[in-house]
Symmetry: C2
Subunit: 225 residues, 2 copies
DNA sequence: TCAAAAGTGTTCTCTTTACACCCATGC
DNA sequence: GCATGGGTGTAAAGAGAACACTTTTGA
């Protein structure tokens, strides 16, 4: 806590980034929330986020928050929207630049030490009451994600290094909330020419094993169509 | 100038909105810039913009700036992106929430008193050197506009109340920078079912007069396809 | 041998593209 | 009467949607 105050000629807002962290678990789209331990909205769930420090840019701040909550880095992260209504925080005016991140299921295990806070994954169709305007942020993130599903290869960002086409299709269907024809889906995926066969397969259960595929470039998200 | 300073426990950034104001003039996509009269970047051209006051929300601020520079209100205005690199302004850290606005050509006449500043429209392919990171903002706005041309009815936001299909096609071509087939374009436009014939026509020159059309709902922008 | 998920092509429909001539007017 | 931009339809190609059976495995 600095003893010296920082002073300006005019009032300045505070600046935070909040992150909507999406992943797929148990065939559901889930989002990471943290339980607030102080006022305002004490005990309510909220998006992870925090103040932007003076030396870092907005994206770096979001990356830092993401790493603090999940231990994860190097995942898909995109600026979503900026929320700045005067009364969105009762303490002082706080502008938040919202980002959203997609966590592939294989990165999920390496959860960082939970920092003694209450942190939990919530299914998007079973959200608790949220602090501040965070429900608005979450809905906007969900909308952006759904939209991008249609005109980009963003769905692959949820996949582990090796995955089957059925798993991929499941993820697609969970997010878009509509069923996809298996043959058409596979045709579409293969035509994208962004995955390759690994030669390996996964057998699990008394049925034919599934071929494992891998992204040619795991970090690339293409705009298509 | 307030005599009393406003003080915080931690440093806060300043907050502005900057607006990319697009219009079509002389078959060119143009953007409004203002010449800076003070340091930094004195004499350089910059996007119109200004500080967000404490009682207004971000959109209201953008609307206010827009009205100050152009006298125009009630036009298409959308949040673009937030730029917040630590050193984007040499004086202090300034976060800017960029918006972009589209001005239809009939609203253009009613330019407000230019407020004694140097203000000018620049063709997008003939821009001067810009202050701060404003070239980055402008390019992003142009990109967003081009993208939306393909999946929304945003192009109509440039049109006056009454317009001909040829005028509309011109605008489309200027922004997308590619030629469109006349018959296919008209088929597409009419299939949208968002314009109606006015019954009037425009004759100008020694050729057949063109039918004038009007948007059924001038404020609506649909996502299509 | 049976249950369960993996894998695989073809046809039909709809959307998008390509393309050329007549029309109404002013000079 | 001629130059100028306004206005119009059809056919071919391509993209997207619909659809059902065989394969491989583990129990």
């Amino acid at each position: 806590m600095p003893v010296k105050k920082i002073c300006y000629d005019y009032p300045h807002p505070a600046l935070t980034t909040d992150i909507v962290i999406f992943t797929i678990q148990q065939q559901q789209l889930k989002s990471l929330l943290v339980k607030r331990s102080g006022e305002p909205y004490e005990g309510k769930w909220a998006l992870p986020g925090g103040f932007v420090s003076m030396h870092e840019n907005l994206r770096q701040c979001a990356e830092r928050e993401l790493a603090e909550e999940t231990g994860v880095s190097g995942v898909y992260l995109e600026q979503l929207y900026t929320f700045g209504d005067p009364d969105r925080d009762p303490r002082e005016r706080i502008i938040t630049v919202a980002y959203y991140a997609l966590i592939p299921s294989d990165k999920l295990q390496l959860r960082a030490a939970p920092d003694a806070e209450a942190v939990a994954w919530f299914a998007m169709d079973d959200l608790p009451k949220l602090a501040f305007d965070h429900d608005k942020i979450l809905r906007k993130a969900k909308q952006r994600l759904s939209d991008k599903l249609d005109y980009s290869t963003i769905v692959f960002q949820f996949m582990p290094v090796d995955f089957t086409l059925s798993e991929l299709q499941d993820v697609q269907q969970v997010i878009s909330e509509e069923d996809v024809d298996k043959r058409n889906f596979r045709k579409w995926v293969l035509a994208l020419d962004i995955i390759k066969e690994t030669g390996k397969e996964r057998r699990e259960g008394r049925h034919r094993p599934a071929k494992l595929y891998r992204l040619k470039d795991r970090n690339k998200v293409d705009i298509i169509r």
